[in-house]
Amino acid sequence: MNSRKVFRIAWEGLTRNKVRSLLTMLGVIIGVAAVIIMVSVSAGTEATIAEQIQGLGTNLVFIQEGFSRMGPGEKQTGSGLTMEDAEAIKENITGVSGVVVEQNSSETVKYSGTSMDEVSILGTTVDFPEVRDMTIAEGRYFSQTELDRKTKVAVLGATLAEELFGDGTAVGQMITVGTVKMTVIGVMEEKGSTGGVDYNSNVFIPITVSFTKFNYDPFARMTGNRVRMIYVAVENEEDIEDTIYQIELLLAKRHDVSLDSLDFTATTQDDIIETQESTTAAFRSLLGWVAGVSLLVGGIGIMNIMLVSVTERTREIGIRQSVGATPSDIRWQFLTEALLLSLVGGLIGVASGIGGAKIFGALGDMRTVVSMSSVFIAFSSAAAVGVFFGYYPANKAAQLDPIEALRHE
């Protein structure tokens, strides 16, 4: 018998019992859709993280205090990273295009009648716009001189400027940040939220002002102004490893530690992306397994229904045998039915999985990325499930004795 005939017989067998066929497919549909949606969610998360890290700027080296090297109960040694370390890097290391340190705080910002609570105040350095790839829309950014002299000047994010000043000019106006009066010298160009941070509502001030006014540390005179992280932008990508080595040498000397026991770590974006990827990969494989189990359950559902179907249609099998259907004809008929159930279920599952992932992405704040490989894997697993779980019932049907089958009520 040719495959077109087998297909037709199987198709007719299924369409004769539409509701049941649909219910049987449901397991596969849910399984396939679950695989696609779950993988798309984790792929989305991964992409977001990678983008956030990339969004911080290009060719960045992150220098952090060496928490990773501390065992439990161990006290942090050394002085940690300071503003002075950052300055030293900028002055002494070649091939560095910018060094940025950040100090965050949250203050109330006032201008004439308008008052806004909990505005992010970002104390930073002059290289910030360059490293972060931000441009000035109006006025100018603060200078190194202003930074050194702790001049009370502020640059506003685009959104914040509009909220405070509306259509009026912001540059030249005085605002009150916390209790400190500051002159607005510039407004940033609007920028999409990269790095997961919306810089459009920030106030950017010289970090020196931040140290004295908002994050005052009484020991700063002795230890220097502590910073959590130093961002170093490297001019050429191929120089990154070399630059890291130089930074390590420099800071080891400054902190008076050996290269084997550094009290800080220098990582690149690639390192961070790699770490993130290994965690999300584990997460994704877990989700994949969960979804795979639901596919397995769908397969068992198919087997169950096929077994019922074989018993119920014993007489039909007998009739077919009596007119000349061979065991393999019967086997193929039922195997094709199972395969059709899983393939059609798989197709519907793929459609609803892609649709579901899109809806998820559109509704929630979760980002979803449908990967073709997950679609392919889910669909082919569905097909495999159909063959695997369809074989036993089909074989059972093929082995029926025609005399017994014809006698079956």
Binding site: E316, I319, G324, A325
Partner: protein, 248 residues
Amino acid sequence: MTKKTIIKILDLTKIYGLGDIQVRALDNVNLTVTEGEFVAIMGPSGSGKSTLMNILGCLDRPTEGKYYLAGEDVSELDKVQLATIRNKKLGFIFQSYNLLPRVSALENVMLPLLYDSMQDISGEEQHDRALKSLEAVGLAERVQHQPHELSGGQSQRVAIARALVNEPVLILADEPTGNLDTKSSVEILSILTKLHGEGRTIVMVTHEDDIASFAQRIIRFRDGRIDYDKPNGHKPVHLYKKEVDHEL
């Protein structure tokens, strides 16, 4: 011109059960049926006539002995080969029609052609042959009806059409009128008589003398052996004859 031998059975024995309890359903049966014969097989239940039908129909194999169907030894064939023989050479008519439910009369008749792996008959030809077959049993008007829309007599006529569609060398009818009222029985028997008239070979199991009287030869079974085997001396009984005349 000598007629072809359709059925040749030599020392056929069928034993059911294993070990101590063995039932000899057929015991050394010898039988020959030639082309164009209309044979009625009779006997009480348990006499072995169903077993014989199963073996004649290639649904079962004999324990011992030989069965030649149209010259071919089919007693040693495997399941697949038997299926092919059923498909090519045999036509079945069952007591309970055995039509596929929820499938049109036409498609039911096409069924044997669907399983013809040797010829791979085109869909169009399947359709034409099934239609011709249905016309032969007077059901050209009902090709698209499903079994539940047909009367018992009509259903059995669809079954006969199905038995004819593959041009079998032998038609096996197992109590073909067992589920039918008198009028429908007459319809069916008149069709069988007509087929016999066209030269077809028919073996029919029945336990009713009236039905058997339509056959040309009557074989009676008892305890797995042939009790008697003789030509039917009687004309079809009067009751039927009247209606048959009326019908034809």
